[in-house]
């Protein structure tokens, strides 16, 4: 569980040291992140901004265990992600991270409730317990009345709120949001950002968000900038 604001955090939830990431394109090695040191405290809401190709999504992927650094250490909750096997990383993500993607990534053939239930199917919870958790998560995002609707029957903003319910349903330590308002109109974007504030202030979730949108970044406690793979 995350640590409430005001509590003294002895070590940061996220700790990056000397992290570099480079991709190989044929014979050419393209550096994306260079020697990044970063600490993010538990319960923080931080936003990363920067131009396209600055490495902010790569940084998010490393923090969330979707990718591994070329060099350096990525520690989340005291665990070194780079040392984990593929299986261990899958299990770690299931238990500790909630994802909110720009394009929601909901399964169109499943109802809102079934989409939200997906991460819970990896836990030992009973069906009745899962149903309770799903209902609670959908209530939090204000969609308790839309449980039986499928994504094509929901607006973009509603779909993103279902995705947020899916992200929080397992009560993860860390919420990762990659351009969460990038595909939404202003009103829906505000609703999503309001929700993030609720999750941050009331449920004390640690939120790390990548965004191009200055309005979205304003909601964060701290905005960090990346430029050509370097943290400013």
């Amino acid at each position: 569980m995350s640590t409430a604001p005001g509590q003294e955090a002895k070590s940061p939830l996220i700790r990056l040291r000397g992290v570099s990431k480079a991709y190989r394109r044929g014979d050419i090695v393209v550096p994306v992140l260079e020697n990044v040191d970063l600490d993010i405290e538990a319960g923080a809401f931080e936003a990363f901004m920067g131009p396209s190709g600055s490495g902010k999504s790569t940084l998010l992927n490393l923090i969330s265990g979707l990718d591994r650094p070329t060099t350096g250490v990525v520690e989340v909750g005291g665990q070194d992600l780079a040392r984990m096997s593929d299986k261990e990383l899958s299990d770690w993500r299931a238990g500790h991270v909630g994802f909110v993607f720009q394009l929601y990534n909901l399964l169109p053939v499943l109802t809102a409730a079934e989409n939200v239930e997906l991460p819970l199917l990896l836990t030992p919870l009973s069906r009745a317990e899962r149903r309770e958790h799903v209902a609670a998560a959908l209530e939090v995002v204000g969609l308790g009345h839309r449980m039986g609707h499928r994504p094509p029957q929901l607006s973009g903003g509603e779909q993103q709120r279902v995705a947020i319910a899916r992200a929080i349903v397992t009560d993860p330590d860390l919420l990762i949001a990659d351009e969460p308002t990038g595909d939404l109109d202003r009103k829906s974007a505000e609703q999503v950002l309001d929700l993030f504030e609720v999750l941050h202030h009331e449920l004390h979730k640690t939120l790390v968000m990548v965004t191009h949108d200055p309005h979205a970044a304003e909601r964060a406690d701290l905005v960090r900038h990346l430029e050509k793979g370097l943290l400013q």
Binding site: L106, L107, V109
Partner: protein
């Protein structure tokens, strides 16, 4: 575990391609199960009706009654064996019989080959499964014939009260009998002492003996084999008819399974194309599932199960289609006996299970490469797709 309803609904969401694939798989399963049902039908048509207490004796080296020639002297010697059962009148249940192919005209102007069996006075008593359903037994010493039920109406005069003409003689029909679906139903029975001279055949094809019990049968067969007076081969009646069915049934089974195998390659490729399309259309969804914590093997299993469901649906369709053929009847020539036999598509629970397994297997095989591809996807590439 990724829930199964995700797979079934995804298949339903693309129901045109799913439906066509199921149809393709179903057609192959249809051929597969229909062929097995056909071979089974032939076996049961020929093999049923054999009584385990009866023994058929053929000339040594002969595989069927048509090729066999047994001296009449053997009849009396065999009838005196202690294992032979007796009729109500106290006569030994032994019959010397002669089987000859007879050409009869059909209603459509063509001719068909049927077997005429020259019988002895005890032939009906020897075979309790052969029962008259109309008329009476032919009298000995006359040209009267009894028709197997399968022959009724197949030729002009082939009905009770009618008259057949062959070997330049007239043969009035006085009875119709059944044989519980066995091969005798495709025969006509007449006194052996009238049939032999009509075809200039003084000998017998076989001697048929009814013993008191199955133990007595085995003792009787052993006794014949050890008796140097006889150059005869003794088989129990069910064994004899099963042997008669073997060649044709095996031919149909091998040919049918070979055709099914060739077709199945096409069906597997069809399933593969469908599953590749399914995976390609859902890369982003699979990437999300991996991101939230589903392991590679869960994705692999999910796609494999999906393709197995596709195959099982094809299996059900094909098996149901094949079941619908059970009301069809086929008449053909048994090349072993040169007589027309009739048989149907006979399903068994085993064939139905095999059909479902075959369909599921084809689907799973078709899904193997797409499932491997899906499970090996990089999460980041999949999420960007």
């Amino acid at each position: 575990m990724i829930p199964l309803y995700y797979n079934t609904r995804s298949l339903w969401a693309r129901r045109l391609s799913t439906g066509l694939t199921v149809l393709g798989l179903g057609l192959v399963v249809f051929v597969f199960s229909a062929v097995l049902m056909l071979a089974n039908g032939i076996e049961s048509a020929l093999a049923s009706g054999g009584d385990p207490r009866n023994v058929i004796l053929l000339a040594e080296g002969s595989t069927s009654e048509l090729m066999s020639n047994v001296e009449r002297d053997a009849l009396r010697a065999l009838g005196s064996a202690p294992q032979v059962a007796s009729s109500v009148e106290g006569n030994p249940l032994v019959a010397g019989e002669l089987v000859v192919p007879v050409l009869l005209p059909r209603g459509d102007g063509k001719e068909s080959n049927i077997n005429a069996r020259g019988i002895g006075p005890e032939s009906f008593a020897i075979r309790p499964t052969v029962r008259l359903i109309a008329g009476r037994e032919p009298r000995m010493g006359t040209n009267e014939v009894a028709l197997g039920e399968a022959l009724v109406g197949r030729s002009p005069g082939a009905n009770l009260g009618g008259e057949l003409v062959f070997a330049e003689e007239r043969w009035p029909v006085v009875g119709v009998f059944t044989a519980e679906g066995g091969a005798y139903e495709s025969e006509l029975w007449v006194d052996v002492n009238r049939l032999g001279p009509a075809f200039d055949r003084p000998g017998l094809s076989a001697v048929v003996v009814r013993t008191g019990s199955e133990q007595a049968r085995d003792a009787f067969i052993k006794g014949v084999e050890e008796d140097s007076r006889f150059t005869l081969e003794a088989k129990s009646e069910p064994e004899y008819w099963a042997d008669q069915a073997t060649w044709l049934a095996t031919f149909i089974r091998v040919l049918g399974l070979f055709v099914s195998f060739i077709f199945s390659v096409g069906a597997v490729l069809g399933a593969m194309i469908t599953m590749y399309a399914q995976v390609a259309a859902r890369i982003g969804e699979l990437g999300m599932l991996r991101a939230v914590g589903y392991r590679r093997r869960s994705v692999l299993a999910s796609i494999l199960i999906e393709s197995a469901v596709l195959g099982a649906a094809g299996g059900v369709l094909g098996a149901l289609g094949a079941l619908a053929t059970r009301w069809m009847e086929i008449r053909t020539l048994n090349f072993q006996t040169f007589a027309e036999i009739r048989f149907g598509f006979t399903p068994t629970p085993g064939i139905m299970v095999a059909a479902l397994v075959f369909g599921t297997l084809m689907g799973t095989l078709g899904g193997l490469l797409p499932a491997l591809r899906a499970s090996r996807l990089s999460i980041l590439d999949a999420l960007r797709a």
